[in-house]
């Protein structure tokens, strides 16, 4: 069976390599791809949308439907992870551990029982407890704000440099994941709870689709940002640029929420109590 698979993979690979011989050479100006659509975008982008980075304008404006459904796909991935993995928490049952902050004593409650003393000196800990590492916690605590600032910069500066909603959203989500890895899952859950991360992804998709629907309401086509000139200053060309920014914010929110959501479901086996 394995040999058969290897033969099939080899044949398909050889076919693909054979097909690439017929491709036009890299950067060929006479290839069909760079004769019809690309020059139009590259020449008219700054005139029509006031966005110097052609990739962002193609993603956000000319091919807005693609990006909208890509965002929807990411949202669907988050929902699928949630539906597959999430186990509803049964309150105050099963073993749990509490640690006294001052003395370091750890209590284990085997089963049942009422909720533990609500004193500030006790913290709930994981079953595989590792001591807090001073260096890692401090360095991550100082790095995370810079990472988040960089993520916001990537989202906001996507018009002029490489970047945009996807990359910035992933960086923002990675900062929360770094918090979870360097401290523990409970700290990350206190910062960004399940409900917030689960809310961010549909809200991001809603911002994207809502921008399109707003254009529809204002009498233009779906995702035709010229319509926003009625609401924003700067005329129809700047309105397209601002529309791209709105859409990028939506994409960033959706991606950030989904990344954090998937990570929490994966890292805690859907129980949201302890994990990586």
């Amino acid at each position: 069976m394995k040999t058969l698979g290897l033969i099939i993979v080899g044949l398909v690979g050889a076919g693909l390599v054979y097909a690439t011989i017929d491709f036009p050479p890299f950067g060929d100006p006479k290839s069909p791809a760079s004769l019809h659509v690309s020059p139009r975008y590259l020449e008219k982008t700054v005139e029509e949308t006031a966005v110097p980075n052609a990739v962002t304008s193609v993603l956000g404006d000319y091919r807005g439907f693609d990006t909208m459904f890509e965002t929807t796909v990411i949202f669907c991935a988050g929902v699928a992870c949630f539906l597959l993995l999430r186990i509803p928490r049964r309150r105050s049952s099963g073993p749990r551990q509490y640690r006294h902050r001052l003395t370091g004593l750890t209590f284990r409650i085997k089963e049942g029982g009422e909720i533990f003393l609500p004193l500030r000196e006790f913290e709930p800990v994981d079953s595989i407890w590792t001591p807090h590492d001073f260096i890692i916690e401090k360095v991550c605590r100082y790095l995370i704000p810079f990472i988040q600032l960089f993520g916001l910069y990537v989202i906001a500066h996507g018009h002029h440099s490489p970047g945009g909603g996807f990359q910035g959203g992933v960086i923002l989500g990675a900062s929360i994941i770094l918090l979870s890895v360097s401290h523990n899952l409970r700290t990350a859950l206190n910062r960004m709870g399940e409900k917030i991360s689960a809310l961010f992804s549909p809200v991001g998709v809603f911002i994207f689709a809502g921008t399109g629907a707003l254009c529809l309401v204002l009498g233009y086509r779906f995702l035709d940002y010229q319509a926003l000139a009625a609401l924003l200053p700067g005329g129809p060309i700047m309105a397209r640029s601002h529309g791209i920014l709105l859409v990028e914010v939506g994409v960033g929110m959706a991606v950030m929420g989904t990344m954090v959501w998937i990570f929490k479901n994966l890292a805690s086996r859907g129980r949201y109590d302890e994990g990586l």
């Binding site: 990739v55 962002t56 490489p162 970047g163 990359q167 992933v170 990675a174 890292a267 994990g275």
Partner: protein, 81 residues
């Protein structure tokens, strides 16, 4: 575009891909997959598609490796085949 550099990185991409399939340790496979993503990121940066390279570096090499490791942490490190 320097074709020697291109060829070197392409070879590394193929090696990382084969290694990620062949290795029996799933954690090692996740790390090799991260290396594969990083090589693809370099290749795209060389070709001038900086946006794609940025996405690949953040999603492929960063977050998806963490997802794989989280999945391996809760399942098993050994493959059956």
């Amino acid at each position: 575009m320097i074709w020697q550099l291109d060829l070197l990185i392409l070879t590394l991409v193929v090696l990382c891909g084969i290694g990620a399939i062949m290795i029996r340790d799933l954690l090692g496979a996740a790390i090799l997959f991260g290396a594969y993503s990083f090589m693809m990121c370099l290749l795209w940066a060389i070709m001038g598609a900086v946006d794609v390279a940025f996405t690949e570096a953040s999603v492929g090499a960063g977050v998806s490796t963490v997802f794989f490791i989280a999945a391996v942490y809760h399942t098993t490190r050994r493959t059956k085949d």
